[in-house]
Subunit: 380 residues, 2 copies
């Protein structure tokens, strides 16, 4: 087992109506003024926006609003949030939304304590502090509610980059699984694909992994598959929503990766370029990239791909396992071919060139050259 250093101080609160506690929590931490970061119209339609404002008002917490976060959050909007947080001297950031809102909020939380441009976070600057971050999650997928990472796209340079810092773990994340009842089914599918990919990247690329960790990951994949199917039949099945949510949190809160020998995130590396260039939903892009990458990569770890087929789908060959996952993605309504993307035209070379930027940033360019990335994309 590899040496590791695990630290995750996020307080995770799950349960019906738990979002109503956010006012008391902020007040209890001595916070009188927050920047509330949120997306577009969904929290206004659902009534959550009014509910949050009300509980904050009851506790006398002043709110500065920063709405309009995009699904693939962008740098220009992040910069506006940083400026607002500084100008208004807020004491904390409150993210109300899904993974994109939490990701942008992390960048704002750190950016508000920096003199430099916030993009520097994504190109190498290590922050030495951040405003405390609180989250009310409305969509379970990315795991951002219990990790320290964030991804933002620089629209000018078309770079979709990530950063992480020990200062940007949410202090408290509240998950009320019932808030996801109204999520459109295609977004549920993309969320499922995202969480499955988070753990399968580690599962397949790790140079070594204790059996306990392998079973831990298989458990998460099985849980996502089972609960997604139950939710599609009955969208208001609370227990399935909650179990799905917890599986997505566990998929990227560090538990899957501790003790695991060297691993990478090649599918995220490639997909980030699809969403940077064509603004496709991240989970949809992953559903396209992952099966293709698995076909390209499976000979590197034949025993792991065979185990995957057996444990997840009860099948007897690596290829059947890959096909079964691809078929399941299609079954839940996720695209699995590049041509299914809702973009007029795409350019594999351009995607690969863009992905190479991340490949270099993540130190993966020995294995993932322009040529290799194009090979994977052609399989999609």
């Amino acid at each position: 087992m590899e040496a590791f250093n695990y630290y995750n101080p996020t307080r995770l609160i799950y349960g019906v109506d738990k979002q109503q506690e956010i006012g008391q929590i902020l007040k209890g931490d001595g916070i009188d003024k927050v920047l509330m970061v949120y997306g577009r119209s969904s929290i206004k339609k659902s009534g959550l926006y009014d509910e949050i404002l009300k509980v904050l008002d009851t506790q006398g917490v002043e709110v500065i609003e920063h709405g309009g976060v995009k699904s693939n959050p962008v740098l220009s909007h992040t910069r506006l949030g940083v400026d607002l947080a500084k100008a208004e001297q807020v004491q904390a950031i409150l993210a109300v939304g899904g993974g994109s809102v939490v990701d942008e909020s992390k960048a704002i939380a750190a950016g508000a304590c920096m003199d430099e441009d916030v993009w520097n976070l994504f190109t190498g600057t290590k922050p030495n502090q951040a405003l405390p971050l609180y989250a009310v999650l409305t969509l379970s997928a990315t795991g951002s509610e219990m990790n320290s990472g964030g991804v933002v796209t620089n629209e000018e340079t078309q770079e979709k980059f990530s950063f992480s810092s020990p200062y940007t773990y949410p202090k408290v994340s509240i998950v009320n699984p019932a808030l996801t009842y109204s999520l459109p089914m295609d977004y549920l599918a993309y969320s499922a694909v995202d969480a499955i990919t988070h753990v399968l990247e580690v599962y397949f690329t790790a140079e070594a992994m204790p059996l306990m960790k392998r079973r831990f990951i298989e458990n998460i994949v099985l849980t996502i598959i089972e609960t997604t199917e139950r939710i599609m039949e009955q969208p208001t099945d609370y227990d399935s929503r909650a179990e799905f949510a917890l599986a997505t949190t566990w998929a990227l809160n560090g538990l899957a990766a501790i003790g695991v020998k060297k691993y990478g995130f090649p599918n995220h590396m490639i997909e980030h370029s699809l969403s940077a260039l064509y603004d496709v939903p991240h989970g949809a892009g992953l559903a396209i990239v992952l099966p293709a990458w698995m076909k390209w990569y499976s000979n590197n770890r034949p025993e792991v791909f065979l185990r995957f087929a057996e444990q997840i789908f009860g099948l007897n060959t690596a290829d059947e396992g890959i096909d079964a996952l691809e078929a399941w993605f299609r079954k839940i309504g996720a695209p699995t071919q590049l041509k299914e993307m809702s973009v007029e035209q795409y350019d594999i070379q351009e995607v690969a060139s863009n992905a190479l930027l991340t490949s270099r940033k993540w130190g993966m360019s020995d294995q993932y050259s322009q040529d290799v990335i194009e090979q994977v994309l052609r399989l999609a």
Copy 2:
């Protein structure tokens, strides 16, 4: 899924020779003077004692020693530790040892900040602060390195009671699995039994549990069984030691219990009386109590006991599963009958009366009366 509030800020550092980092870690946290709490002779024999003193000296951290913690830590020694911590005005507690040392250290860390007697922690006083606690673990079993609880026996009253507080999570716990190479095999067996019991108490008593959580627990039990057998064949198999250690940490760091509906710790409740009265090793006591309790209890959750038999041992009935666990305890050298305890005579009535104290304290006395506890013990 039940609502939950999960918070675990312990930094967990695993790896070969990681204990050598403790000096820098303390110094980095601004700590110049610690109370070093440890057990009897084993860390002196192994050289760990000298090694720790050396790295602390290199960093200029002054050490006040509090050795002699017993395997079932006792109140009188805990009080001495509190007095010493206060008199010497140490800034932190450094536990070097197994679960007993960490448990006593938690009580000292909180007791050093209290005006009242430290025993009050165990009878109802909620501390509002504690000295920061650091741990170098030498025996993986109790999970105390990543939770906030501690158990201490009051020798005068023969009460073995527990406490927990949000202030007594270790700030940093260092686990070098190689430090356990020299552990006697009977203590490895007791450790395995302890960790298995931690998760099975939840598994069997929970009124409801998501399937993901059930599989999570089964994974821990399977891992303990597999790695214990490998370690008994090859005590210096690092990977098995490390995987065993991580499974024991995960067994009681809160992960197994989140989202689970009402559960209890009846086996710990009963066993604490065996070790309070007869000073038997905790894991040995659990190996005696657990199979008996399973036989007494299995009709309450027939489907869970059947699943246990199938998933852990590949067997087809609940009774076979219980027998298989009992046989495995015997195989690894743990006692499974009261008469195997190395005490001259024991008194089931006295044990049950003592256990009733904990039963009442834990709010379990509706189900676990004197009579019921005696019934369970007679099955042992």
